[in-house]
Symmetry: C2
Subunit: 101 residues, 2 copies
DNA sequence: TGGTTATATCGTAATATTACGATATAAGAT
DNA sequence: ATCTTATATCGTAATATTACGATATAACCA
């Protein structure tokens, strides 16, 4: 690894947001606190399998977590990591706003 | 287009940050206000051509701009777009912090 | 003019992303 | 036990990303 660890993590989380479907998912999970996979599929103009892939990507990034509930899957924000990400965003914003006025 | 325009733009800018090299470039441009391409190449553990590609990606995202200065290229933050991006980040953070406490 | 320097672009290979339909899996219902 | 439902995963195709060395370009210098 040649880049700072925190930059690598920040980049990874940014990549998790680098698709409007995933942004939509995150926002929905934020509003509803938790969500069944099927609801997210209905919300999005994408097939079930594609939505499942995006959910997997988000889960692997650590920004959300999922648990099986009978035949359904319930997803929610991973608060610990999301907080960390928000903190990193804040730090980034601060350094940007230093110079962008 | 099926996703909200602002989500698409936010996703695109997040994608621009989705690599540690590009984060590094943005941070450097922030600190030094402006930068010659060659300085950025020295900063990064990547070849000249790869750095040039990352610069192109950032320029195409609209987060930075470049101008030719004789035989050199000088880059700086595109303040207008960066401000917009920071604003979007802020909005995102706010909605996240609603639910992540 | 000819050589040097700085940067961008080309060609290319390896890998990742994105999408879909089809299929597997596993729980719940009849 | 079988059927249905919800979700995940597989297979696959199209495209994008990332990296490099090699080459093109264009300005500067001698």
């Amino acid at each position: 690894m040649d880049f700072p660890k925190t930059d690598i993590q920040f980049a990874e989380w940014c990549k998790a947001l680098a698709h409007p479907a995933r942004i939509s998912i995150i926002k929905t999970l934020m509003n509803r606190r938790e969500c069944i996979c099927g609801e997210l599929v209905l919300d999005l103009p994408l097939s079930q399998s594609t939505v499942s892939q995006h959910l997997k990507a988000l889960k692997e990034s650590g920004l959300i977590q999922g648990e099986v509930e009978g035949t359904k899957s319930k997803y929610c924000i991973n608060k610990k990591n999301m907080k960390l990400f928000m903190k990193m965003m804040g730090t980034f914003q601060e350094s940007m706003n230093q110079g962008c006025n």
